[in-house]
């Protein structure tokens, strides 16, 4: 007995550990995205996101002042490098200790902080860890101070600026509403249509059934790019044009093969005796479908609805083709792609933020639906 119990608990340990490992592995890239969305563009290309919480050593430059005090034959300029405006731009939150300094761009950390650098011709420069410097020069510096390069610790820096920019972009609220207006009907309508068709394909007997199933599977792979132009033409001809109505139709159609396929497969797996006995009791197919098959198929409907919701939510192509391009009907993906990224395609911070904002709602939906989802799935265990 002991042996089995020991085996069991070691198995449980192994399970726990491997799931933790799996979750971490899956989470790392997403965490990277989250961290990047909280950083500025310059920083993102400067250091890895995993270094974001730590102070980084940053190389900066500034100029000494020009207020020279004569000292014997020479002039002495003293001050603090952090008083220089240019140097401060590198450290908006204040700089840390200076580690090293130099006077040439090619070797910005030539001298350790606190040492005196001999610049030749009787000229010398000392920069201390706290940023104070002493520059001795044989000539009056005039109006141009000595160039100083230095390396200093920069505290970790996070910003909500990217989020502010994405969320407060003109008409972003409108775009959000538009996205919902597109996604919800485009998720609900195909489910209904597909559920009826799936039932017919799974439990009704008629000639050509096998052929239709094959057709649905075949249509799964049709690249929707093929359908864009002919369908937009059709919409224009029947007067729908580019409108919400058009995009609902389009999403409904493009999601249909997968919906029919997924739901039919699930329904076909339902126990035969339940359906047969209902038929014997005199239920019509319509009643049978609505009262018995539909409730039992909830897990499949939920699975497909998540799939379709995510797909319509993240869709860019269909929205661009079937919706007009004015601000009043832009959805979030189009808004982000055209207005926020556009010519600033290299702005990784905005990109990361946009990606994060766009997953927030689907994740919320998933969490909110999870209980229902799991219950539905458990109900499916009649099989």
């Amino acid at each position: 007995m002991d042996n089995i119990a020991g085996q069991k608990s070691s198995l449980a340990w192994a399970t726990n550990i491997s799931v933790v490992a799996l979750v971490l592995l899956w989470l790392i890239p997403t965490v990277g995205l989250l961290v990047s969305s909280l950083r500025e563009r310059d920083q993102i290309s400067e250091s890895g996101w995993w270094k974001a919480p730590f102070p980084v050593e940053l190389t900066a430059r500034g100029r000494t002042g020009t207020q020279a005090a004569p000292d014997g034959d020479a002039f002495v300029v003293t001050g603090n490098i952090y008083d220089d405006e240019e140097a401060r731009t590198y450290f908006p939150d204040g700089g840390g200790d200076v580690v090293a300094f130099g006077t040439r761009g090619v070797d910005p950390t030539e001298f350790a902080a606190g040492t005196t650098a001999d610049l030749g011709d009787g000229e010398s420069l000392t920069v201390n860890a706290d940023g104070t410097y002493r520059w001795v020069t044989p000539e009056d510096p005039g109006d141009r101070g000595q160039r100083v390069y230095f390396a200093a610790q920069s505290p970790p820096e996070f910003t909500l600026g990217n989020y502010r920019q994405v969320l407060t972009a003109d008409n972003m609220d409108r775009a959000f509403v538009n996205t919902l207006t597109v996604t919800i009907p485009a998720t609900v309508i195909p489910i209904l249509i597909a559920a009826f068709a799936a039932y017919a394909l799974a439990w009704m007997d008629f000639p050509g059934r096998g052929l239709l199933i094959a057709l649905v599977v075949g249509l799964l792979v049709v690249p929707l790019q093929l359908a864009l132009v002919p369908m937009l033409n059709l919409h224009n001809r029947i007067g729908i044009g580019q409108s919400f109505m058009g995009i609902w139709f389009a999403h409904t159609a493009f999601g249909m093969p997968l919906a029919v396929y997924l739901i039919r497969n699930y329904m076909a797996g339902l126990p035969r005796d339940i359906i047969e006995s209902a038929r014997v009791d005199g239920a019509t197919d319509f009643e049978l479908f609505v009262r018995i098959v539909l409730p039992l198929s909830l897990p499949a409907l939920a699975a497909f609805s998540i799939f379709q919701f995510l797909w319509t939510w993240n869709d860019l192509l269909v929205a661009k083709v079937f919706l007009p391009s004015d601000d009043a009907s832009k959805v979030m993906t189009v808004k982000i792609a055209d207005d926020l990224l556009g010519s600033r395609g290299g702005d990784w911070g905005i990109l990361a933020t946009a990606a994060f904002v766009s997953i927030a709602v689907p994740i919320a939906v998933f969490f909110a639906m999870q209980r229902f989802f799991v219950r539905g799935l458990l109900a499916g265990s009649v099989k």
Partner: protein, 453 residues
């Protein structure tokens, strides 16, 4: 009461739409120096489109969209028309779909002539009148080459001018940080030979002369095509360039191969930041950062006029960073060739107001408004150079006005499968060093000759 009133006001603003929003804020007050306001007044007295509206679609988004809207505002102010501009990052795909589905805007702004030519041949674009062609030839610097660029055979086989070039990008530029040049004692090279010497000298000093990044997602490779095009213009007369981009001479003509090799010269060990393999995947938008790091990861970057958008925030052009003309060889008499790209306004759904808008683009003011806010270069000879916000912008525009030869970005003139396909991918192969210039050119030629009819 109050909430209701705000609600109503909000509804009114919504109902009035974008035209209302744009018309209320003119960027510069009429009469303000140094703009050519008389040209606007003359235009105003000849055109009235009150109550009409036109749609314009173009590739400009973000800040550029605001800029073009600031120009459009003056058209609306002068004519009473309302204009709806919408920009799209995937403009080229959108315009093809919308012309095929008969939902095209009145005016489309094409970033490259290849696509425009395709659409013109299908009859989706309305030709402009011959007077406009004459006007461009006379008023634009190197005017004839602009007219040629925008003239194609229509569906009826006649050659017409189909678009109005507006806003030009110069590609033959090298960006550098003046202070780093000064510290290291480097001089801005005046000739191609001097540029090669400088490259060698910088490498001999133990630092890296060039930053290079070809990465651009699906467009990976295009920066290398700009290099090769500039090289062709420096290796051979412009006629060869014209024959090359139309495949009258094969892509693997020895002069083109020589140009690819000339680009290859700059890829030698120690000349490119990170090495040639890294350059092939470095994003072109990340490439400039090497100029601004300490110590500098590189001293020069060859890139078009738009690149300062990707410089670190707060970089002041002319002070923190500057550019010089990618010089022509001293030997030979090829003059000062300039490679560029530009956008072209074409009428996709004809209307009086749309034609009026093209007329509006002829006024110096339409160029000055954008130029004054930075980012626009123009070959329009009658604009007041004082509108440019900085000396460096003015100098940049002078490069355009002084060009003895202007040639449009060749990859934009080639068929899409080549200019936005094989040319890109093969240049990536060449850049990483996995094949030589001859093989690269031959592979592209093979694709080109195999194009479907």
């Amino acid at each position: 009461m109050k909430p209701i009133r705000t609600l109503l006001a909000g509804a009114a603003a919504l109902a009035l739409g974008p035209g209302y929003a744009a018309a209320q804020d003119l960027e510069f007050e009429i009469g303000e120096e140094p703009f050519s306001w008389d040209s606007l007044e003359a235009f105003r007295s000849a055109h009235d489109f009150s109550g009409e509206s036109i749609d314009i679609t173009g590739p400009w988004t973000g800040r550029d969209a605001e800029l073009v809207e600031s120009v459009i505002a003056y058209f609306e102010e002068a004519t009473g028309a309302s204009v709806n501009y919408s920009g799209s990052d995937s403009f080229e795909q959108d315009i093809v779909i919308s012309t095929e589905a008969n939902s095209a805007p009145n005016i489309a702004v094409f970033p490259q002539p290849g696509l425009l030519e395709d659409l013109a041949q299908r009859g989706a674009v309305t030709p402009l009148d011959p007077e406009t062609a004459e006007w461009i030839a006379q008023t634009y610097a190197a005017g004839e080459s602009w007219v040629d660029l925008a003239s194609f055979e229509g569906p009826d086989g006649n050659e017409n001018l189909y678009a109005f070039p507006y806003k030009i990008d110069v590609k033959s530029l090298v960006w550098y940080v003046p202070e780093q040049f000064e510290e290291a004692g480097y001089e801005v090279p005046e000739t191609y030979e001097a540029l090669q010497e400088l490259t060698q000298q910088i490498a001999d000093d133990g630092v890296t002369p060039w930053c290079l990044g070809l990465g651009a997602g699906a467009g990976t490779g295009w920066p290398a095509t700009d290099w090769v095009e500039d090289m062709v213009l420096r290796e051979a007369p412009p006629e060869v360039y014209d024959q090359w981009v139309t495949n009258e001479i094969p892509f693997d003509d020895e002069r083109v191969v020589a140009a690819i090799d000339a680009y290859g010269w700059f890829l030698q060990d120690g000349f490119v930041n990170g090495g040639r393999e890294a350059a092939a995947t470095t994003d072109f938008r990340d490439a400039p950062s090497g100029l601004f790091s300490f110590p500098p990861e590189c001293y020069m970057l060859k890139q078009a006029t738009f690149i300062p958008t990707f410089f670190p925030e707060g970089t002041e052009i002319g002070v923190d960073a500057d550019f010089f003309y990618f010089p022509a060889p001293e030997s030979g008499d090829l003059g000062q060739p300039v490679l560029g790209a530009g956008t072209m306004f074409a009428i996709t759904v004809d209307s009086e107001a749309a034609r009026g808008f093209i007329e509006f683009l002829k006024t110096p003011l339409a160029h000055e408004i954008w130029a004054a806010q930075g980012g626009l270069l123009t070959p329009h000879k009658e604009i007041n150079p004082e509108v440019f916000p900085s000396d460096s912008q003015r100098e940049l525009n002078d490069i355009l006005l002084d060009a003895t030869t202007f040639r449009f970005d060749g990859s934009d003139l080639m068929p899409g499968e080549i200019g936005a396909g094989a040319f890109w991918t093969q240049m990536v192969e060449f850049t990483t060093g996995s094949q030589d210039a001859q093989a690269t050119a031959a592979a592209i030629e093979e694709r080109w000759s195999g194009l479907g009819q």
